[in-house]
Amino acid sequence: MNESAGASEARQGLTEVDRVIHEPARLLIATILYAVESADFLFLLRESGLSKGNLSSHLSRLEGAGYVAIEKTFRGKIPLTICRLTESGREAFRAYRDHLRRVVANLPE
């Protein structure tokens, strides 16, 4: 493949990325959740370094896209807001990662 064709394909590929996951804060949240079965709001807050409001709004966006399921529950006496990637969220994360790998592989050196 010649360089300009590769670059053009890469440009096209970039416009087709899943924008729900592509946003850096949401990508971070999805990456953390991908490594576990579920995690609570406090853990995500600490690991992501986002503010409470920011994290809430990104989680709502991911929940709205059907990528994250949020459940309020108790563990012992501790109230928890448990978040987990849904099956479609896991699939979307894998697809995003593969897609970006292909796009970057097509970029000229």
């Binding site: 953390i32 576990v36 079965e37 609570d40 592989a105 050196e109």
Partner: protein, 216 residues
């Protein structure tokens, strides 16, 4: 060769780093090592007691029936205790995480394979009693291997140290000779104490860096 990292590698590395941190979180508070280390000390005590039981029938009952039940009991109790301790100390401070469990087939396969390997080793030692002196090495290597396996995703120095320490302790005890019971008592007590000490230090550091939540 170009030494600068490609964006692809950089993205993959970042994703892996975030995921490694998440897995490492389980070990951050040291509770698992503290509790499992304490149970190793109990196994060491068990060996010391078993060594005091007269040889023959009673000892065969102790090693054939009581020991497996003791190990299974400790395994179940440790899971519960670690869960309880994390609920009380860790989740309110730094949050709750539930890890992806291995598929049911693998969960069943591991104890079955361990049982078969154990039975084969017992049969082998019965046929060639001179191999008995190598039993401590046979504890040290799988225990060390287990630490390495745990460390594959966490990459913590103290787990690598524990792996090397248990393999080396097992090997040294095998070379030293002596009764299986005495070697078992020494091996499990030593490894357990080192593990618990590492866990206690990690817990102290964790509690210092993660103050209790407001209103607790």
């Amino acid at each position: 060769m170009n030494n600068s990292k490609s964006p692809r590698h950089s993205l993959d590395e970042q994703v892996q780093q975030v995921q490694r941190r998440t897995v490492r979180y389980w070990f951050e508070d040291g509770l698992a090592e503290l509790i499992i280390g304490a149970f190793f000390v109990l196994i060491g005590l068990y060996f010391a007691v078993a060594g005091a039981v007269p040889q023959g029938g009673p000892r065969a009952v102790v090693s054939g029936l009581v020991f497996p039940a003791f190990i299974v009991g400790l395994g179940l109790a440790s899971r519960r205790l670690i869960g309880r301790a994390k609920e009380g100390l860790v989740y309110p401070r730094t949050g709750y995480v539930s890890y992806v469990r291995p598929p049911a087939r693998r969960r069943w396969l591991t104890p079955i394979v361990a049982g078969i390997v154990g039975a084969l080793l017992v049969a082998l030692i019965r046929r060639a009693p001179s191999l008995e002196s190598w039993i401590p090495a046979l504890w040290g290597l799988p225990v060390g291997g287990l630490f390495l396996l745990m460390n594959r995703s966490a990459r913590l120095l103290r787990l690598s140290f524990l792996a090397a320490f248990s393999a080396l302790t097992g090997l040294l005890l095998a070379l030293r000779g002596g009764s299986t019971e005495m070697n078992g008592a020494i091996f499990f007590t030593l490894v357990g104490l080192v593990m618990a000490a590492g866990g206690a230090l990690a817990l102290r550091r964790y509690l210092r860096h993660a103050p209790p939540p407001e209103g607790a």
